[in-house]
Symmetry: C2
């Protein structure tokens, strides 16, 4: 099978020929970490105006505050000095389209593997999923009280980021 | 405290004013998922030449194939049709600079919280960490045998992506 990887390496050659950012330090210049979805339509550095070196970006299916996202944020905050977290979920997210039971059944049918014990972290309500993840961060004893946390939604039709307010 | 988020929203306004990609479909056009580090010096879409809509991008501290990364890849492959995974770690990674014991001690001193039970997934050898994560994917029963998996390293000094060969 032809690998997409080989095309990526060709594109990378062009990137390397113009590269002039080899001097940047490890800690993020803007002291912020973004948690968002792996979705292909999201290029968070572009839609947030990040320059190279500006911000940590944690991504997974849904942009969920999983235990692994918290692992990453502890490293980001304790070792690399970030002081703010922005959680961004998005419209038309795949996580709105299935349940754990449906995905486990698909895995069982396709591969004969029992995935019924896995929480794939789908959600039925976009804004509520953002509120839930912000609340999870705020209640985590691993995240210091001084860390500023904001929740937001990205609209894949317009490119716009909108803050999600806490529920009154 | 002034939020970085407000600056990000201002940058987003400029992005929205030029946005013309509201028609893209959910499944990644290039059928590939990239797993890489949250590091601020990595803009994977740029260094791999991805257009909006091309590829899933999973990011965490180290670009590790954590259980949460596998959760994301199952969704990527089973529900959204990706057929290839590229794992990319990078030079000068923060994960090369600490041990679980050191970070747990820092969390204990700063917040009085016991983090000694958490594996933060640091690594002492960059290329070996890539090989380990590729091997973890290959041995996962959740990842179908037909999925192509490549490991690579990104050099933050040059911007270059280089494939990591399996050990002879």
């Amino acid at each position: 099978m032809a690998r997409v990887f080989d095309e990526l390496v060709s594109a990378n050659e062009r990137f390397v020929s113009d590269f002039d950012k080899g001097h940047l330090d490890m800690p993020p210049a803007r002291r912020v970490a973004v948690v968002t979805c792996m979705d292909a339509r999201l290029h968070p550095e572009r839609f947030l105006g990040h320059e190279l070196g500006d911000a940590h970006v944690v991504r997974n299916a849904g942009g969920r505050v999983s235990d692994d996202a918290i692992r990453s944020l502890v490293i980001s905050q304790r070792l690399l000095g970030t002081e703010e977290v922005v959680v961004i979920h998005h419209t038309d997210c795949g996580m709105l389209t299935f349940t754990n039971e449906q995905l486990a059944e698909k895995v069982q049918q396709e591969s004969g593997v029992d995935a019924s014990g896995i929480d794939f972290l789908p959600f039925p309500d976009l804004e509520q999923s953002v509120r839930d993840d912000v609340a999870k961060l705020r209640s985590s004893e691993l995240i210091p009280d001084g860390i500023h946390i904001t929740g937001a939604v990205y609209d894949v039709k317009t490119g716009r980021v909108s803050e999600v307010a806490d529920k009154a």
